[in-house]
């Protein structure tokens, strides 16, 4: 039995947003990396936040494990935690920086920007 009303919200619980992509701006200067990163000065990395609760939507691309865990969590929240809201698709960004020999290097770094979030 799912512990939710017809709007999909749980009784007696503060409603939290579903797992989704949220803004996260990375500023290399604040990280103290501006002495070796030439460009960009920062970028939009995004992050994943929200709950993975029953029923899981297909756009969250849940793994079979996440479906089982979410189902068990919906039946008994004390025995099993909900599945995790994490990045499921990431994209690269280009960075221009100086290496330890002060050579200027261009590099494409994989998995820097969150494109999609899902339940795992």
């Amino acid at each position: 039995t799912a512990l939710s009303n017809r709007h999909g919200k749980r009784h007696g619980k503060k409603s939290r947003s579903r797992c989704s992509k949220k803004p996260l701006h990375v500023n290399f200067k604040e990280l103290g990396w501006d002495d070796w990163i030439i460009a960009p000065l920062g970028y939009e990395a995004y992050h994943c936040e929200g709950v993975c609760d029953f029923p899981l939507r297909s756009h969250l691309e849940p793994t079979n494990h996440a479906i089982i865990q979410t189902l068990m969590n919906s039946m008994d929240p004390y025995s099993t935690p909900p599945s995790c809201c994490v990045p499921t698709k990431l994209s690269p960004i280009s960075i221009l920086y100086t290496d330890s020999g002060n050579n200027v290097v261009y590099k494409q770094y994989e998995e820097m920007v969150v494109e999609q979030c899902g339940c795992r």
């Binding site: 990396w33 501006d34 050579n103 200027v104 998995e111």
Partner: protein
Amino acid sequence: FQSAARISPSVPRRNREARISHPGAQRSSKFLKDILTYLQPAAGHHKHEPKDAIVPHEYMLSIYRTYSAAEKLGLNASFFRSSKSANTITSFVDRGTDNLLHSPLRRQKYLFDVSTLSEKEELVGAELRIFRKAQGNAQKSGIYDIQLYPCRSDRQLNSRSLDPMDSATSGWEVLDVWDAFKAHRQHHYHQQQRHLCFQLRVTQGQTEVDLRQLGLDRSGRTQQEKAILVAYTRSKKRENLFNEMKEKIKSRRSVGEKEEKPRTRGFKGEGPRRRRR
């Protein structure tokens, strides 16, 4: 190009301390602690001051601009085929100088410190880019032949023609040095040979030409006009951003140790003040 400006670190001290005392940081590995220590003002004196600012060559800036724009358009994978599937492009600035006593200037040695290029990176291309300044009094007949050799061999690496009319305008001469760079890496892998050296000469017919005539002399060159060796590499495994941080910390630490050494001489048990005296 706003992002090209090098900005000195100015993160407020209290912000850094707050970050260090964060519970997540307490659980961090030794490496993360190193990073946090590196961010502290005490270690900051090893950071580059604005006077040491590195001016990137326009070529590197244009690579960055083009590829980051392509990324935003989603042209990622296919676009990189044009750059030999490289995901890293490193520019090494020429450290060679012309011997001013040699007049006419018949040959030039171009010297590059390539020691920072990791052996884990697969070299997929390399080119030597030499800036040629415009010459008003260029000859109007005959074709020039630009020839490139290794410094310790007479085996020609590459050559290209230069029309005398072209010498009236400034421009970059690009010579493929991939084979030479590959050979250098194979032969000197265990010897840790730091420098890659090329010799340039220009002929017209059978005669060697004074390189000054073609605007190739290197005196009074700005940083952006210096020759660069551009290496196109592809990482064999997925790149971790922290590798660069590790390298930076290592190099800063070695600089720091060199600076500290004279101060640490002294008798056992002496305090820092006494050792300084």
